[in-house]
């Protein structure tokens, strides 16, 4: 009898599987990762002077597939959130938003460290190759990662402050 009462009082996981919209948030996160990585890859390839078909085709193919899918999922989920504001507080949504924020933050910090390190190497004249190409490559990564981070940052904080 005691065992039975202990079992009923034990913590029960709230989210065991992804909800219907939770799965869509997961897919949206994957598509976001896909298009942002491919966009950065394409941009850095072009900045570094790679005008090769073979180098550019794969990231372009990823971009062509992931960007429309991301746009469709993003607009669809935003409409659902507008119709049902409670969906914004769903555990799956928050989990993927936080994961995206954390990853983009780490990428931004690592890129910033690499950029500062590179600039310090220039002072000691230990770097070869085009300086602006390297700096531009780092800046592209920073801009994309920072844009994603800031989007979720302001969204989270506007929710916290009760703004729409």
């Amino acid at each position: 009898m005691d065992n039975e009462s202990n079992k009923s009082q034990a913590p029960v996981p709230v989210v065991q599987v992804l909800s219907v919209s939770g799965l869509e948030y997961a897919m949206q996160t994957l598509m976001l990762a896909g298009w942002s990585i491919s966009l950065v890859s394409l941009a850095t390839s072009l900045i570094n002077g790679s005008r090769e078909f073979t180098t550019l085709t794969y990231p372009l193919s990823v971009l062509l597939v992931t960007l429309p899918l991301f746009a469709w999922l993003f607009i669809r989920l935003r409409r659902q959130e507008a119709a049902n504001p409670a969906q914004k507080l769903e555990a799956s949504r928050r989990r993927f938003a936080q994961l995206t924020q954390l990853v983009s933050f780490v990428v931004s910090v690592v890129t910033l460290i690499s950029l500062v390190y590179y600039l310090m190497q220039i002072i000691s004249n230990e770097q070869t190759g085009s300086v602006w190409k390297h700096v531009a490559s780092y800046l592209v990564i920073l801009v994309v990662a920072k844009a994603i981070f800031l989007y979720y940052w302001f969204e989270n904080h506007s929710m916290k402050w009760g703004k729409k």
Binding site: V40, S50, L63, P68
Partner: protein, 210 residues
């Protein structure tokens, strides 16, 4: 919502622009691949012609090479050398992408491994005794001057018979005797062995690979 749609529209336009650009590169890459295949075909025929006849042909037609595209040119310079040029629409490298560029600087330096960024990881075959069409090339004209060193190499004396164990037989001249005869500056072949004699190259194999 309209701001979001505008954002996606901008991203879509950038993607469309990139697609048009990459497709136009693909058209050029197709014609370059055709040129590269033909250049390899010609290289094989030219190398076997030069090795077989001991001289370079007057023209590609003389070496029985037909259907040469306008992107490939052949110029005989001397009886032992020629210039072979291939014109490509686009450069072909080992990759100048994110991974190859950034990893070789930041990551390789962070791990303490040597690494530097080349201008696109390009390897172009240098001038040599045989025609070699590289797997990478620059945009535009890629030329090689081929000099047939082999026909001018000093031949091994007939009386030189190495023993099965690898050392020369008693009747063969000693290596120092051979060296002194080839290293005579007034000798016929001194031009070809002067680096070896001065100690710049260390072995006969080095001499052959020059």
């Amino acid at each position: 919502m309209s701001k979001i749609k505008l954002g996606f529209l901008v991203l879509g336009l950038i993607t469309a622009g990139l697609t048009v650009y990459v497709v136009s590169l693909g058209v050029g890459a197709r014609s370059d691949a055709k040129t590269e295949r033909k250049a390899n075909e010609i290289a094989t025929k030219l190398n076997s012609y030069v090795q077989g006849k001991g001289t370079v042909p007057e023209s590609l037609t003389a070496a029985d090479i037909k259907d040469v595209p306008s992107t490939i040119s052949y110029t005989k310079k001397t009886s032992d050398s020629y210039e072979f040029c291939v014109t490509y629409k686009n450069a072909k490298t080992f990759g100048g992408s994110l991974v190859s560029t950034l990893s070789t600087t930041a990551i390789s330096r962070a791990t303490g491994m040597p690494g530097s960024v080349s201008s696109g990881g390009l390897y172009t075959p240098s001038d040599g005794p045989t025609l070699y069409i590289g797997t990478t090339h620059t945009k535009g004209k890629n030329c090689q001057t081929v000099t047939n060193y082999y026909t001018n190499m000093p031949s091994i004396p007939d009386d030189y018979m190495p023993s099965p164990s690898g050392s020369s037989s008693s009747s063969a001249p000693s290596s120092s005797t051979m060296e002194s005869s080839y290293c005579d500056p007034s000798g016929e072949y001194y031009t070809y062995v002067k680096d070896y004699c001065s100690g710049t190259t260390t072995s006969h194999t080095d001499l052959m690979t020059q």
